[in-house]
């Protein structure tokens, strides 16, 4: 079969799964007064359509910011406006100012689901397809489609976008980020940085990825010589960034107060850093696989350390965990290292920074999808954990348990069938060869390594499956109502810390050793 028909089948399959998931319920369906993310998206359409741009981010009599106020960058707002125009054509009631609050109906659900699918189809899916074709490989042509199938079937993204309902989060933002990676892999630095700026202007969480982008581009400039070509390139990139930001923010550039207000909405520092997620221990609302949340099970950090120190602490830890990767990337900017750095930086942010949202794990998961080709076993494992960790409580609340179970199992079986992951657990397949070589003097028994890794994987999958079943079926004992959510978050946090260590090891022991090894062989 030709590769294009295989790819078409892959995309059709991905779209079918997306649409079938979207037949289910969404967040906050029929739950007044606040509803959920679905209502937030609808409300933004209402606000952006009916109010002048100057009032979008301001608390006015027409715009109550406490009711799902706009707190994403301008591009999200423009996207909402665009959707609102379409909505107006179909049924003006959907976006009528004030009166449409909490509007729910079958046609409206259909409309909202369609907008997500269209956004996905226009931004994310083409990026994935082109990325899979761009990977240079001598092996069979069908590999690209199979890889694309694995990436497109990643359950986390499907469930959040098409089940839970949210598009600024995933399809579009991550799609733009993917476009940026794609451009960078072709050495089109300017287009890449422009695409990344779009992603950043779609959702501020994309800052998780900004450091690797910055370091990679900087490293490329250094490589060309800081005085000659490198400086020119650096100036060009800086110019592109400034221009794309200006274009995105143009309507808000009328006065500084506007810009400041938008920034305040995006980074609500005055709202109190720690109310959100970081150290808040009453877990029913936000039980997160973040390190701070997990630590708070043992130590009540909130009671020991003052808020100011908490901020400093988290900043310091995040910075320290990022530092090695970034330095390495700046010194040796290679595409491979860049992709790994995207993963490890985002994971560090997720684990250590403050005000983390559970859906932010997607920012780690999508870069992991990019390296699924190189470390299929670990990538599959990570993607499973990521779906399990943050989505489970969310999806239980939304009544998407069936979709969660089915898509996760489907993803696992596709990965097993496509990559035969269980045969790829040796140190070499895990890209740990250089590391193990450097340890050779100290660690003698490395032979049973693949077996150990396999059994660890099975243990972890069993644990996750068991916890999923229990969270769905078992009522926790009345004395410990949060027992299961805490178990879930601690388990996944443990996983994430190990993954962070693993990714850092791979990055730090990478190129030099493997290159020298190749020379020897």
């Amino acid at each position: 079969m030709e590769k294009w028909s295989l790819m078409t089948i892959t995309v059709l399959l991905a779209l079918t799964v997306r649409w079938t998931v979207s037949l289910g319920s969404y967040s906050g369906a029929g739950k007044p007064p606040m509803y959920g993310d679905y209502e937030a998206q609808r409300h933004w359409q209402e606000v952006t359509y009916n109010l002048p741009i100057r009032q979008w981010y301001f608390n006015t009599s027409e715009n109550n910011l406490l009711y799902w106020g706009l707190d994403y960058p301008p591009l999200t707002a423009y996207h909402s406006l665009l959707c609102a125009y379409v909505a107006k054509l179909i049924n003006p009631d959907w976006i009528a100012l004030h009166t449409s609050r909490g509007y729910e109906s079958q046609p409206h659900k259909l409309f909202m689901r369609t907008t997500v699918l269209v956004a996905d189809l226009l931004v994310y899916i083409p990026a994935v397809i082109l990325y899979c074709f761009s990977l240079k490989e001598t092996s069979a042509k069908k590999k690209a489609s199979i890889r694309a199938l694995c990436i497109l079937l990643y359950p986390g993204l499907i469930l959040i976008d098409h089940g839970h309902f949210q598009y600024p989060c995933s399809a579009v933002t991550l799609g733009f980020a993917l476009w940026a990676v794609l451009y960078l892999s072709y050495d089109w630095y300017l287009l890449g940085s422009a695409a990344f700026c779009l992603a950043l202007n779609y959702k501020q969480m994309e800052l998780y990825h900004s450091l690797p982008f910055f370091c990679y581009l900087l490293g490329k400039c250094f490589k060309r010589g800081l005085k000659g070509k490198g400086l020119v390139l650096l100036t060009k990139i800086a110019g592109t960034v400034v221009v794309s930001f200006t274009v995105c923010w143009l309507p808000f550039c009328t006065d500084t107060e506007q810009i400041m207000q938008v920034l305040r909405r995006l980074f609500p520092i005055d709202r109190g850093l720690f109310e959100a997620c970081m150290f808040s221990s009453p877990p029913p609302h936000s039980q997160l696989a973040n390190i701070w949340c997990s630590l708070s099970v043992l130590i009540k950090i909130k009671n020991i350390v003052s808020p100011q120190t908490q901020l400093k602490l988290s900043f310091a830890v995040t910075f320290l965990s990022l530092l090695p990767t970034c330095i390495k990337l700046t010194v040796q900017p290679s595409l491979r290292a860049f992709k790994f750095a995207l993963v490890s930086c985002a994971l560090s942010f997720f684990l250590f920074s403050f005000q983390v949202h559970e859906k932010s794990i997607l920012l780690v998961a999508v870069p992991v999808c990019l390296i699924i080709n190189e470390i299929p076993f670990m990538a599959t494992w990570f993607l499973l954990v990521s779906t399990f960790s943050s989505m489970l409580p969310l999806l239980l609340k939304d009544g998407l348990l069936l979709a969660y179970a089915v898509t996760t199992l489907a993803f696992l079986s596709v990965c097993v069938a496509a990559f035969s992951i269980f045969e790829k657990t040796s140190a070499e397949d895990l890209q740990l060869k250089p590391f193990s070589l450097s340890l050779k003097g100290h660690v003698s028994r490395f032979k049973s390594f693949p077996k150990i890794v396999r059994s660890l994987f099975l243990l972890s999958v069993t644990l996750m499956g068991g916890l999923s079943v229990m969270s769905a079926a078992v009522h926790p004992p009345p004395r410990l109502p949060d027992l299961l959510p805490v178990c879930v978050s601690v388990t996944s946090c443990l996983h994430f810390v190990l993954f962070l260590v693993y990714f850092n090891v791979v990055i730090l022991w990478d190129s030099k050793n493997s290159r020298s090894q190749k020379k020897i062989s």
Binding site: M1, E2, S5, L6, T8, I9, L12, L13, L15, T16, V17, W19, T20, V21, L23, G24, Q106, P107, L110, L117, A140, K142, L402, A403, V406, T407, L409, A410, S413, V414, A417
Partner: protein, 526 residues
């Protein structure tokens, strides 16, 4: 060792395919379901609560039990699991009852019983042996056949969205066909006899089974030129076959004969009171006949050949009325359709008798029987086209000629199933799944037969491509036009007439190819 590795690879891929489609079926659980859902819920309730003697008399709901006894027993068995899910669905008076648990149970029962279908497909794939050994597993005939059967679009939407239990019934049919191909005749006959008592629509293909068994099992040898050796008749084999059929029938109908209810059961199974065509015309000969009648009527009115006052009113509202009265052409009686069907089936059966082609001939005859009865049967449902499509898949991966016919028949036949799902949320699903299946079947069969001449000629290609504008017109443009109020039946009419052309063409083409084929047995003998 390499063969072993290949077999292991094939097994892994088959498992992935079966698992994948099962997951897709699970995702379709929240989708729309038709009144058939209530039909089966009602049958669950009837068989659970009432004694055997009242199964075929109970008429609280309008959806009375009209399947043969084995299916009733099947529902009875299901109902004993259902009571653990939601006992309220087993109350006969709870008409149109639904709950989450009910939906889950019913949907899962379909998915679960499909295991039989998956097993049958597995057995069918073993019967198919590719001539050319390709390294690529994706281009092996067995693999392509597995996808074409497991991921069959029609079966997916009829069973898992519209809601019916066709999966395991087709599983029984394919399994019996596979057993016949493997020369395990008695097993095949037993399975088919059981199948007949599950759903009597399969009686359409019974001639193929009967003649094939008679020809290749009851007569144990052929002459050198392939003609029948009358002296090789085996009384033992006939007795065995007869015994099997009688035993199965006794098991199924026996209790009702003892109770003296056989006429009642029969009258429930064959309701000839219904009209010639279903509310939505199945794309068969009668759809063309009706359309012709309508066209002639309009033409006659325009040219004043006809008197407007004499025309029955119902005929102008078209497909919405069950009883369709013809104005120009003669009206059709059940007996007429029966005779037409019989005549249409006859040549294929003769062919099977006089030009035995082994299992392939049997499958061809099976498809022709199914298609012919679909073309001329009384009150045919559009879903009955699956009866021809699924066995034809087996042929399509073996010969380029059949592959071309298969592509025409599946595409038009599946397209004609579109009106089954008319709710907006299911629109993308049906289009996506249809595209998925069509793209796969075209590209895989094309690459399988890439060394031979093209599968479709230009006329057939144009015909198939025009389905796209037709769908766009019916689903998107037409609802926006003012005609929607006055002529709501136009999209259905267009769809069924356009598809009827394709189905008729495929039927004729298959018939011609079977009739003109030379006997291969003779060549082998030489």
């Amino acid at each position: 060792a390499r063969g072993g590795a290949m077999a292991a690879g094939a097994r892994r891929w088959f498992r992935a395919l079966a698992l994948g489609v099962s997951f897709l079926k699970c995702l379709l659980i929240p989708a729309y379901y038709s009144t058939d859902f209530e039909v089966h819920r009602n049958w669950l309730a009837i068989t659970h609560n009432l004694p055997l003697s009242q199964w075929y008399y109970e008429a609280t709901s309008e959806w009375t039990l009209d399947y043969p006894p084995f299916f009733a027993w099947f529902e009875c068995a299901l109902s004993h699991v259902a009571k653990y899910f939601d006992p309220k669905m087993l109350v006969i008076e709870n008409l149109n009852y639904t709950s989450r648990a009910t939906v889950f149970f019913q949907r899962f029962s379909v998915i679960f019983t499909d295991i039989l279908f998956i097993y049958a497909v597995h057995e069918c794939c073993r019967c198919v042996n590719g001539k050319r050994a390709t390294k690529d597993i994706l281009e092996k005939p067995a693999f392509i056949l597995a996808v074409l059967l497991l991921w069959n679009f029609g079966l997916l939407i009829v069973d898992h969205i519209h809601f019916q239990y066709n999966g395991f019934l087709f599983g029984l049919m394919l399994l019996s066909a596979a057993r016949l191909c493997q020369k395990r005749y008695l097993e095949g006959a037993l399975l088919f006899a059981i199948l007949l008592h599950f759903k009597h629509i399969y009686v359409y293909v019974a001639p193929a089974y009967g003649i094939y068994l008679l020809r290749s099992y009851c007569f144990t040898a052929n002459n050198a030129d392939g003609s029948l050796k009358w002296r090789s008749f085996s009384l033992l084999h006939v007795t065995l076959l007869g015994l099997i059929v009688c035993l199965v029938s006794a098991l199924s109908l026996g209790p009702f004969i003892v109770l003296g209810q056989l006429p009642q059961v029969i009258s429930r199974l064959f309701p000839f009171r219904r009209g010639l065509c279903h509310a939505y015309w199945a794309p068969n000969f009668w759809a063309l006949y009706n359309a012709m009648d309508k066209a002639l009527t309009i033409f006659g009115l325009k040219c004043n050949f006809l008197d407007p006052t004499k025309i029955p009113k119902a005929s102008m509202t078209g497909g919405l009325v069950q009883e369709f009265q013809h104005t120009v052409l003669p009206s059709v009686t059940p007996l007429a359709t029966l005779i037409c069907t019989f005549i249409a089936i006859l040549p294929s059966v003769f062919c099977l008798w006089f030009k035995p082609q082994g299992p392939r001939g049997f499958l061809q005859c099976l498809v022709l029987c199914a298609l012919s009865s679909f073309m001329f049967g009384w009150h045919v449902h559009e879903k009955a086209i699956l009866l021809a499509i699924l066995p034809l898949s087996l042929l399509s991966v073996q010969r380029a000629k059949d592959a071309g016919i298969y592509l025409i028949l599946t595409t038009t036949g599946h397209f004609s199933l579109f009106p089954l799902l008319f709710t907006p949320p299911e629109l993308p699903i049906k289009i996506l799944l249809m595209l998925l299946f069509t793209v796969y079947s075209f590209s895989s069969l094309k690459s399988l037969f890439r060394r031979e001449r093209p599968l479709l000629n230009w006329l057939e290609t144009i015909y198939l491509i025009q389905l796209v504008p037709l769908e766009i017109f019916c689903e998107i443009i037409f609802p926006l036009t003012p005609w929607k109020q006055h002529f709501p039946f136009v999209p259905l009419l267009l769809t069924s007439v356009y598809c009827a052309l394709g189905v008729t063409y495929a039927w004729l083409k298959l018939y011609v190819s079977v009739l003109t084929e030379r006997s291969t047995v003779r060549q082998k003998a030489e």
